[in-house]
């Protein structure tokens, strides 16, 4: 196995390589940016139409009251978990291979949360009354219903979003100072000057910085676990067969980490290619990432099987019927596609030859996320088609173009945010890569003269 990173990259070279990614975008950048904005346009158009006409245009109906919006909401919340995994959990575990790739993963966290939040709004029948969900003092002393998992959701997501923005920003301060020192004039200079908060790199600043960063990392981990557990509670707390499952919270968290890791692989390959980050986003790092993804995929598969087994061997006949309906009913093709993309396809990642094969990994990572998206949809749609009450049975419902338009547009929104981020902020952490290079070269210098690989 090769080295995660070369030890002899000069620090100035690191600055140069990363800062280059901030410079004048090529024509392709503008083309993709335009496509992303056009996609957002589709979503905005659909939402305006839905807002004006009513939720009926999304083709939901009285037994299928939730649809793609909620499914895609869970999907985006799930995507956000990988950033925390890479930056906070691996930071605490001193896995230094995360250093060149955690910045964009963290940005992904923030932006997918910002996308997920929009789905809550789009889903509401009376969007203009959304502030009722927030506890604000009012003369009637009317509060939200604190028993409702949706209110927990609101708190969990707001907390997670603000903390992950903070974490992203705090971790970027030394890099912003590098940007400030290397850019001579213009709006960027002003932006970096303000945002770097007068960072000079003194010992005291570094010490405070380390403590702050570690504290936020420790704070963020339980938050990340709880946020998706709470999203899972939306389902597990209800009495719907197929949702009323005790193992939902860990199942959701595993699914979240899974889709997040797959998304990191996708973005890793794109950034490596576009910004020519071959020196930093190296194949050995990719290999570790792929192995991590494989492990999480197996955890997810295991939890999935547990869910099926507990339903199958449980005494809840309705839940069992529901499971059979999923596997054999009108939604069966999607159900089996989910099993294939989520559990069978990742087995490929166990083979060494695929672990560094970028074109294959690119396709596979996207397909894994397709599988994870299907998983969320398979939680929503079939459950409404086969609930407790026979009146709802066998009324399958398929989303309208309005729903698809908004889901489609959300990917444009995410792309737009991510692309703007990549050009305004360094997407590879310069100071941490330097640290990594330095530690590796120290280790090389003090390598004991004994034979054997360690």
């Amino acid at each position: 196995m090769g080295k995660d990173i070369r030890e002899d990259i000069a620090w100035a070279q690191i600055n140069k390589d990363v800062l280059k990614s901030l410079e004048s975008p090529r024509r392709m950048y503008w083309v993709i940016l335009f496509i992303a904005i056009a996609m957002i346009g589709v979503a905005v158009g659909s939402e305006v139409y839905q807002y004006q006409t009513g939720m009926g245009v999304s083709n939901k109906n009285n037994s299928h009251v939730w649809g793609l919006y909620i499914a895609t909401f869970i999907f985006w919340i799930g995507m956000s978990h990988s950033g925390t995994l890479l930056s906070a959990i691996l930071h605490l575990m001193h896995a230094d291979w995360r250093k060149p790739i955690y910045r964009f993963a963290e940005a992904m966290t923030t932006f997918s949360l910002m996308t997920a939040g929009l789905f809550v709004l789009v889903h509401l029948g009376r969007l203009w009354m959304v502030y009722y969900v927030m506890p604000y003092p009012n003369e009637r002393w009317v509060w939200p219903n604190f028993q409702s998992p949706l209110v927990w959701d609101m708190f969990a997501i707001a907390t997670y979003l603000s903390s992950s923005v903070l974490f992203l920003y705090v971790g970027m301060i030394p890099d912003l100072a590098i940007c400030r020192d290397n850019i001579h004039a213009g709006w960027r200079k002003k932006l970096y000057t303000v945002m770097s908060l007068g960072w000079e790199g003194t010992d005291r600043q570094w010490r405070n910085f380390r403590i702050t960063y570690l504290t936020i990392a420790c704070f963020l981990i339980p938050l990340a676990v709880s946020v998706h557990s709470i999203v899972a509670s939306d389902f597990a707390m209800s009495n719907m067969p197929g949702w009323h499952v005790t193992s939902f919270p860990p199942y959701f968290v595993a699914g979240a980490l899974y889709s997040g890791c797959a998304a990191i692989i996708t973005l890793f390959i794109i950034l490596r290619y576009v910004f020519k980050f071959e020196e930093y986003m190296t194949l050995p790092i990719m290999k570790k990432l792929v192995r991590l993804t494989f492990a999480i995929a197996m955890v997810w598969t295991y939890l999935n099987l547990i869910e099926f087994a507990s339903v199958w061997y449980g005494h809840d006949q309705t839940a069992k019927d529901q499971l059979i309906f999923k596997a054999t009913g009108p939604y069966a093709p999607f159900f089996w596609a989910m099993i294939f993309f989520g559990s069978i396809l990742p087995l490929m990642l166990a083979f060494k030859r695929f672990q560094t094969h970028l074109p294959i990994l690119f396709v596979v990572s996207i397909l894994l996320n397709v599988g994870m998206w299907l998983e969320r949809w398979m939680i929503i749609a079939p459950s409404f088609a086969h609930g407790h009450y026979p009146w709802t049975w066998d009324h399958d419902q398929w989303p309208s173009l309005v729903q698809w338009g908004i889901v489609f547009g959300s990917f444009g929104w995410f792309t737009l945010l991510f692309m703007v981020f990549c050009k305004v902020f360094p997407s590879v952490s310069m100071y941490e890569v330097k640290e990594m290079v330095y530690h590796r070269s120290l280790a090389l210098k003090h390598k004991p003269a004994v034979k054997g690989d360690y």
């Binding site: 029948g125 009376r126 209800s238 609930g387 009146w391």
Partner: protein, 284 residues
């Protein structure tokens, strides 16, 4: 619900069940529906449309599942091998069961659906944000969402049809959830009349719209607290108790003779609507 109120009356809030430690004092509205009398004529549904300003959405939207029948007649075909015309069927009018421990109430993020002191499951249209969680969690699927803005955009009540709208009932706009209210507007009037007369509402003094029109008198409605009420007597003779998820009579031999049951009782929703099983020739 102010903080001081919360702290001072903590014992009122820390209950497991609305019904467990807060018995209904004056009123507990309940219903019983005799399926043996029900002919499936749909008059109840029509009366409900007229009384409660339900939008008539039209064929196409009805097929899409956008209908608003607060009380709906469900038809279940017999599965005994006989073909249509000879094939038997059963009817079941389904409406909001006004559960004493309603799954919809706990999940509403804004508290738009609540339990009243009279044992009604109320829906506050002005507070509803349209998250539709209540419908997702309702095992009976007795809640209906306003998928379109019927009063204005869909021309459901064109001039002079709007003249027949019931002035006692709000016309709901798009994006709110609605459901059977047990004709709360009639209950309010009856209660206020009774209060002026210094008494409680008498049995039969107030009828729901569906009960009023039922040609076979299959629906009885009244106050369960009132020992003289017909509905209370029915519940008692059928040995159906309100705050039970399993009726004691079902364990006994004589259960076969009693027809009263509640739907999906085992989910611990404690519904306020009791059904009386239909007697079938096949069962005799």
């Amino acid at each position: 619900m102010s903080i001081t109120n919360l702290l001072e009356n903590w014992s009122d809030f820390r209950q497991q069940h609305p019904s467990d430690d807060r018995p209904h004092r004056e009123y507990k509205w309940a219903m019983s529906i005799d399926l043996d009398s029900c002919t499936g004529c749909n008059a109840c549904s029509v009366a409900c449309y007229a009384e409660n300003n339900l939008p008539v959405v039209g064929k196409e939207k009805f097929a899409h599942g956008h209908s608003h029948h607060w009380i709906r007649i469900e038809r279940y075909w017999d599965n005994d091998g006989r073909e249509f015309a000879d094939q038997g069927a059963q009817f079941l009018p389904m409406l909001c069961q006004h559960c004493e421990s309603a799954p919809c109430e706990t999940v509403c993020p804004v508290g738009a659906t609540n339990h009243t002191a009279d044992g009604l499951n109320s829906q506050v249209y002005n507070r509803c944000v349209g998250s539709r969680y209540c419908n997702a969690n309702c095992p009976y699927k007795a809640r209906y969402f306003n998928w379109y803005d019927y009063p204005t955009t869909d021309n459901v009540w064109p001039e002079p049809m709007n003249q027949q709208l019931n002035p006692d009932v709000t016309v709901r706009g798009k994006g709110v959830m609605e459901k059977c209210t047990f004709c709360v507007q009639r209950l309010t009037v009856a209660k206020s009349n009774a209060r002026s007369a210094g008494r409680s509402v008498l049995d039969g003094e107030v009828q729901t719209a569906c009960q009023q029109v039922c040609p076979t008198g299959a629906i009885s409605f009244g106050n369960l607290v009132d020992p003289l009420a017909k509905v209370g007597k029915q519940w008692m003779t059928q040995q159906v108790e309100l705050n039970k998820d399993k009726q004691a009579k079902n364990a006994e031999e004589k259960a076969v003779k009693l027809r009263g049951y509640r739907i999906l009782e085992e989910l611990r929703t404690y519904p306020s609507v009791m059904y009386l099983e239909q007697l079938r020739e096949s069962a005799i």
